[in-house]
Symmetry: C2
Subunit: 308 residues, 2 copies
């Protein structure tokens, strides 16, 4: 089993969907990635920052699940990053209502010494210079580095983003962002251009339409499980990334064939995340439920055509 370093926000979210709204609840990319990866019982560490207002019980939710938080800095007189958003009726788009960076503004990530030789590094959505800073602290070249990002950084820090993209192995990005980053409409062509920027593997997340994995001319397509109701999409992309990274850390096999399985695990875990507000569903998730849903994914996608 490999050690896994997880970088990303640990945050307060306030979410509004057609089904209801929440006060400030637990959120953040590193939170969702950590909860998702914890399904594989890997030895992981979160690198992040929170303020003095962040409840100890939220941190305990991570440590309870074997996510080391020595790299989560607590700025006693600072306030935790806060994001608030409202989803439209179709759940495919949202408006950001509030973004308070707070302690993130001056965040210098520190990877705990015990994790600087981790084999897998998952760089969750954060400023590309923070992502880069984490990479530079690794004392041994990781077996696999995975980066997730979003259009926000393309808009305000494209050069920094391109620099970190040139150094990583796998990028996970959504379809519109892949188009923006590459200037190509076709996702096949977009993946090709993004390959040329550095990553050997490109994962394009298409929300309710699933996810595509590209590696040179090889492609793999994992559908999203069709659901009667999507309750709250917040964190689904991070949960996908956490399942992807967690499965690879557990299996230790980073072949393309095994990455297909990692994409399926990512999609499976994301399908749970959207069933309730915030992290609620991920916190109650049992291994047997994951197994049952993987079986559903098999029935959903596997067919039996003999080619003679």
């Amino acid at each position: 089993m490999s050690k896994l370093v997880i970088v990303g926000t640990v945050a307060f979210d306030a979410i509004e969907t057609p089904f209801g709204k929440t006060d400030k609840i637990l959120g953040g990319a590193a939170t969702y990635i950590g909860l998702s990866a914890s399904q594989f019982n890997v030895d992981s560490a979160a690198v992040s920052v929170v303020g003095g207002d962040f409840p100890q019980e939220y941190l305990d939710l991570l440590t309870d699940r074997n996510v080391n938080i020595d790299g989560v800095e607590i700025v006693k007189d600072g306030k935790t990053f806060f994001w608030s958003g409202k989803y439209h009726n179709d759940m495919n788009s949202r408006d950001t209502l509030v973004t308070e960076l707070n302690v993130l503004e001056t965040f210098n990530p520190v990877v705990p010494v015990a994790y600087r030789d981790a084999e897998i590094v998952m760089l969750g959505n954060l400023h590309p210079l923070v992502q880069l800073g984490v990479l530079e602290q690794m004392t041994k070249k990781p077996k696999l580095t995975i980066l997730d990002t979003m259009d926000f950084w393309m808009n305000i820090a494209l050069d920094d983003l391109k620099k970190v993209i040139s150094k990583i192995d796998v990028i996970t990005i959504n379809d519109e962002e892949a188009r923006q980053l590459s200037g190509e409409y076709s996702l096949v062509n977009a993946a090709k251009k993004i390959h040329e920027m550095g990553p050997k593997y490109v994962v394009i997340k298409k929300g309710e339409h699933g996810a595509l994995l590209f590696h040179n001319n090889d492609m793999f397509y994992a559908p999203a499980l069709p659901l009667a109701e999507v309750f709250d999409p917040t964190g689904a992309g991070d949960t996908f990334a956490g399942g992807f990274a967690g499965y690879l850390a557990k299996s230790g096999n980073i072949s393309f064939e095994n990455m297909k399985n990692a994409v399926i695990y990512g999609s499976t875990l994301a399908s749970f995340c959207v069933e309730k507000f915030g992290t609620e569903r991920m916190l109650s998730l049992k291994p047997e439920e994951v197994k049952t849903r993987l079986q559903q994914f098999k029935e959903l996608t596997q067919f039996d055509i003999e080619l003679k």
Copy 2:
């Protein structure tokens, strides 16, 4: 092997895409369905109508491929149905420029006597009363009836459409049309409502995002092959339906498991259709090419997770 009856338009199309434009070329739902189904060497018959202006060589393209045209009426002093459309840059939407119904306005379909006991009936896009008229001519209850339709008929002939929908086994319909017909946004809920209208099987076509097959609580998802370029989407939905129906006619097995294969064959054939203007690619398509692409579909979708 089962006999297959194909109902639909045989038409002239004029198409404009970002890649170029055509004069009047061969088109029509029955044409695309017939060409696609002919890949399975099934005994099929088209039921349609053309005008005196329709070239014999176009009809020969069908008979050359074992599609019987005794049921294609030729109205000597009439003009063939003509459709013209222009695709937007993203290829996912189009404007209809011209629709001249011509001989379709007074069309009374006649199923050739030799095909009135066909096991599979594929009702391609046409007025629901024409589709119903064909069903009523069958002397033996078909093993499987498949209906394709579009929003146009929902808008002007909903009651007739619901009547024919209540009598068929499989409906193929695109995602937006499924939402319109059911009043449900979630495709899972839309399929449920459409089941209640009659069809035991609901196929929802999502264009570049693939197709979903529903049967009670069972689901199957076939992706569309991600393509660097979609040259002309015209006929892709009909080609999908023709592959679906043709494969089932050839195999004679209408179990849900075998319908999964039929959906994959439909997707595979549709992925060729969009590579060139109109029917051009389907007319040059070789069995070896289909086999190679099926192998691509396998690599695209199949994974190997052991559930213990």
